[in-house]
C-alpha cells in the first residue's frame, strides 16, 4: 500500500496548481469597477479655457474611439480571466497595462474630436471616471503582482512604454495636460533638474554627516545616543517650520560673509531647503548605517581581532561588506524621502517641481499641479526601484 500516498499527493498538487490564486477575486472586482467607472463618472470634460471649471461632455463616437473603447473592455475581461490561473498572472498584468493604454488612447482621440471647431484656448481633460479607472487598473495589477509575490514591474514598464508610443504618435497632443506641458516645456525641464539637485544635494549632505557619525557612534555609545536623539528630534519638527527656522541663521551668515551669497547661501533659496531636507534624512541614514555596521556579529568581530586584523581591516573586510545591503536600504528610504521633501523647497524660493505645484494651486490649474506631481511620483518610483535593485544585488553577493 506504499504508493498510494504518493498518488494522493500528486492529486492535491494538481488541484492546487489549477486553483485560482487568492487574489483572483480582488483582481476581478477591481477590474470590473475600472471598466464601469468611465461610464458612470464620465470620460471627458471640456473647459472654455485653462482657468474655468470644466464640464462633462459625452464621448464623441468615431470609428477610432469605438475601436479603442472595445479594446479597453476586452483587455479588462482578459485581466479577470487570466488572473484565475497563477502561472498566467504575468499576462494578467500585461492585459491591465493594455487596458490602461487603450483607455488613454480613447480619451486622447476623443479630446481631438471634442476640440474640433472650438476656440484655440479651450481645454479637454480626462474626467473623474478616467482617473478612477486608471487607479483601479493599477491596483488590480498590484494584486496580480502580489499573487506571484513580486512588484508590478511588467505593468509599469508596459504602461510607460504604451503611453510613450501614444505620445510619440501624437494621440495625446490635444489633452489639456499635454498642451500645458508644451506651453511650459522649458519651465518644467528647469524645475525637474532643480528638483534633482535639491534632493541629490540633501542626500549627499546627509550622507556626508551620517556616515562618519555612525562610524564614531559604533565605538562610543554616548555619540550614538546623541546622534539618534538629534535625528529623532528633527522628525517631530514640521518641515515648513524647520525651513523657517533655518532662514534666520542662514540670513545672518550671509550678511556676515557676503561672499557666501555667490554660492547661493542665504535666508531663502536652495541653501536652507537642502539643509532642512538633509536633517530629515539623518534618521533613516544613521539608523540604517548603525544597523548595517552591526550585521557582523560580535563573535565574528572577536575572532577577527583575535587573529590580528586591524580595526581598519575589520571595517573594510567585515563590517562594510556584510552591512552593505542594510545600508543601501537606508539610502533607499532617504532618497525617496528627499525627492518628496524637495517639493516643499518651492515655499522658501528653492525652486524645483514644487514651484509648479504651488503655482498650480494658486491658479486652481489642475493640469499645472499634475505637471509638478507626476514627475515627482516618477522620480520617487525610479529612485526606489533603482535602490531596491542595488540592495538586492548587494545582498545576493553575500
Amino acid at each position: 500500500m506504499e504508493p498510494q500516498p504518493v498518488a494522493v499527493l500528486h492529486a492535491t498538487e494538481r488541484r492546487e496548481a489549477s486553483a485560482a490564486p487568492r487574489e483572483a477575486t480582488a483582481v476581478a472586482v477591481l477590474t470590473a469597477l475600472a471598466a464601469l467607472a468611465p461610464f458612470l463618472l464620465g470620460f471627458l470634460s471640456v473647459a472654455p479655457n485653462r482657468l474655468l471649471s470644466p464640464r462633462l461632455v459625452p464621448l464623441p463616437v468615431t470609428t477610432a474611439t469605438t475601436l479603442c473603447l472595445g479594446l479597453f473592455l476586452v483587455a479588462c475581461l482578459a485581466v479577470m480571466l487570466l488572473a484565475r490561473r497563477a502561472p498566467l498572472l504575468n499576462w494578467a498584468e500585461a492585459a491591465a497595462a493594455l487596458a490602461l493604454c487603450s483607455l488613454v488612447a480613447v480619451i486622447g482621440l476623443a479630446a481631438r474630436e471634442a476640440l474640433q471647431g472650438a476656440s484655440p484656448v479651450a481645454r479637454a481633460a480626462p474626467a473623474a471616471g478616467l482617473w478612477v479607472a486608471m487607479l483601479l487598473l493599477a491596483l488590480a495589477a498590484g494584486c496580480c503582482a502580489a499573487g506571484r509575490s513580486g512588484t508590478p514591474r511588467n505593468f509599469m514598464a508596459l504602461s510607460v512604454l504604451g503611453l510613450a508610443v501614444l505620445w510619440a504618435a501624437g494621440a495625446l497632443a490635444d489633452l489639456s495636460l499635454a498642451r500645458e506641458a508644451m506651453a511650459r516645456g522649458g519651465e518644467i525641464r528647469l524645475a525637474f533638474w532643480q528638483h534633482l539637485a535639491l534632493a541629490g544635494g540633501a542626500l549627499f549632505l546627509a550622507l556626508a554627516v551620517a556616515l562618519p557619525l555612525s562610524l564614531l557612534a559604533l565605538r562610543r555609545s554616548r555619540v550614538e545616543a546623541l546622534l539618534m536623539a538629534v535625528a529623532n528630534g528633527f522628525q517631530v519638527i514640521p518641515s515648513i517650520a524647520l525651513f523657517g527656522l533655518l532662514m534666520g541663521p542662514l540670513a545672518a551668515l550671509a550678511a556676515w560673509a557676503p561672499a557666501l551669497r555667490g554660492w547661493g547661501i542665504g535666508g531663502i533659496g536652495p541653501a536652507p531647503a537642502v539643509l532642512g531636507i538633509s536633517t530629515y534624512l539623518l534618521l533613516p541614514l544613521a539608523s540604517a548605517f548603525l544597523a548595517g555596521l552591526r550585521v557582523a556579529s560580535p563573535a565574528v568581530i572577536d575572532a577577527a581581532r583575535g587573529q590580528g586584523l586591524t580595526e581598519g581591516a575589520i571595517l573594510r573586510q567585515l563590517r562594510l561588506p556584510l552591512g552593505l545591503g542594510v545600508m543601501a536600504g537606508g539610502v533607499r528610504v532617504a532618497a525617496v524621502q528627499a525627492i518628496g521633501l524637495a517639493t516643499l523647497a518651492a515655499l522658501i524660493g528653492g525652486g524645483g517641481l514644487g514651484a509648479l505645484v504651488f503655482q498650480g494651486i494658486g491658479q486652481l490649474a489642475t493640469d499645472l499641479i499634475l505637471l509638478g506631481v507626476l514627475p515627482v511620483v516618477a522620480l520617487s518610483l525610479l529612485a526606489d526601484g533603482g535602490c531596491a535593485a542595488l540592495q538586492a544585488a548587494l545582498e545576493r553577493r553575500r
Partner: protein, 310 residues
C-alpha cells in the same frame, strides 16, 4: 611558554582576575577550569592582549606581551572561541587563509596549507574548501575554526570554551581530534572550560579559578587527591569527586599479578580505573583481564580492589 606574574584585572569596583601567578610549560595543554564569571576567559584574553591587565604582567617566551604590537602578537597566537566566528561571506578556504594572507604568504603556499589543515582537522579538503560557513554543521564549523587557528603554524593556541556549544557526541569527537593534533604538533595550548569531564580529558595541567583567584593548580591526579575542601571540591562536584578521581588513575596499578582467565572481559593496559568501572558495569563482571603490554606483565583487576580505600 606563558607566565602570568601577579596578574589582576579590575572593571571599576569589580575584580575579574585577582593576582594570578601561573606558568604554562611549552608543549603542554593547560586547562583553566572555573564556573562562569570566575575570570578564566579574561585571564586567557590577556595573553593576546584582547584584555590588558590592570596590574602584573604576562610573558610569552620570556617577553612581556605589553611590549609587543597587538596585531603582530595576535597573528602569532592561534585563537579559537565558542561561537567560532567564521566570516560568513568568505569560503572555508579563505577563512582558514586569513592569517597566512595577513602575513603575506604567496597564493600557492596558502592553498597548500589550507588543504593540509583541512586534512589535519578531519575534513575532506576537496569537499569543504569552497563551502560557505552557513553550509557547515556546528562540529564542522569548529573544526574549521581550529584549522584557522593553526593556519600560520603558531606555537601557542588559546581556546575559549571551543566545544561548549556542541552536542556531547560531536564534543567528544573534537576532544579526541584535539588530543591527536596536540600529540602530532606539540603546540602549547591554553584551554578554557567550565566542563569538568572535558578538563580531565584534555589537561596535562589544570588551573582552577574561583572569583578571579587561582585556587588550585597541578596535574589532574594531584588536584583530585587534595580536593577535600573549598571551591575545588564544589567545582568538581562533591558527589562525583571519587568518580573523577578514578579517571586519573591507570587500571594496571591495581591489577593483581595473577594469570587472567580466558572468559573474563578484556581491558586495554592503558585504560583508566573509570573505564574499568564502566566495563565492569557494562559486562556485569566483577573481574577484568588486563593483557600484558610493555613493562606491565598482565593481570586481573578485581571489584574489591577498585572500591577498597586508598
Amino acid at each position: 611558554m606563558i607566565r602570568f606574574e601577579g596578574v589582576s584585572r579590575r572593571y571599576g569596583e569589580q575584580v575579574a582576575v585577582d593576582r594570578v601567578t601561573l606558568e604554562v610549560p611549552r608543549g603542554s595543554i593547560c586547562v583553566l577550569l572555573g564556573e562562569s564569571g570566575s575570570g578564566k576567559s579574561t585571564l586567557m584574553r590577556m595573553v593576546n592582549r584582547l584584555v590588558e591587565p590592570s596590574a602584573g604582567r604576562v610573558l610569552v617566551d620570556g617577553r612581556d606581551v605589553a611590549g609587543a604590537e597587538p596585531e603582530a602578537l595576535r597573528r602569532g597566537i592561534g585563537y579559537v572561541i565558542q561561537s567560532v566566528g567564521l566570516f560568513p561571506h568568505w569560503r572555508v578556504g579563505d577563512n582558514i587563509a586569513t592569517v597566512p594572507r595577513l602575513l603575506g604568504w604567496d597564493a600557492a603556499r596558502v592553498a597548500r596549507r589550507v588543504d593540509v589543515l583541512l586534512d589535519l582537522v578531519g575534513l575532506d579538503a576537496a569537499l569543504f574548501r569552497d563551502r560557505f560557513p552557513h553550509e557547515l554543521s556546528g562540529g564542522q564549523a569548529q573544526r574549521v575554526g581550529l584549522a584557522r587557528a593553526l593556519a600560520a603554524d603558531p606555537p601557542l593556541l588559546l581556546m575559549d570554551e571551543p566545544f561548549s556549544a556542541l552536542d556531547p557526541g560531536t564534543r567528544r569527537g573534537l576532544q579526541s581530534a584535539l588530543r591527536e593534533i596536540h600529540a602530532e604538533t606539540g603546540k602549547t595550548i591554553l584551554f578554557v572550560t567550565h566542563d569538568v569531564e572535558e578538563a580531565l580529558t584534555l589537561a596535562d595541567t589544570l588551573a582552577v579559578l574561583d572569583q578571579g583567584r587561582l585556587v588550585a593548580q597541578g596535574s589532574s591526579a594531584s588536584l583530585l587527591q587534595e580536593a577535600e575542601k573549598g571551591p575545588v571540591r564544589r567545582i568538581f562536584g562533591k558527589e562525583s569527586l571519587a568518580f573523577h578521581r578514578l579517571a586519573t588513575l591507570p587500571a594496571s596499578s591495581l591489577a593483581r599479578p595473577e594469570d587472567a582467565r580466558q572468559d573474563l572481559p578484556m581491558l586495554p593496559a592503558d585504560a583508566s580505573l573509570k573505564q574499568a568501572l564502566m566495563l565492569m558495569l557494562a559486562e556485569g563482571s566483577a573481574c577484568l583481564a588486563i593483557p600484558a603490554e610493555g613493562a606491565f606483565p598482565g593481570g586481573t583487576l578485581h571489584w574489591a580492589d577498585l572500591v577498597a580505600p586508598r
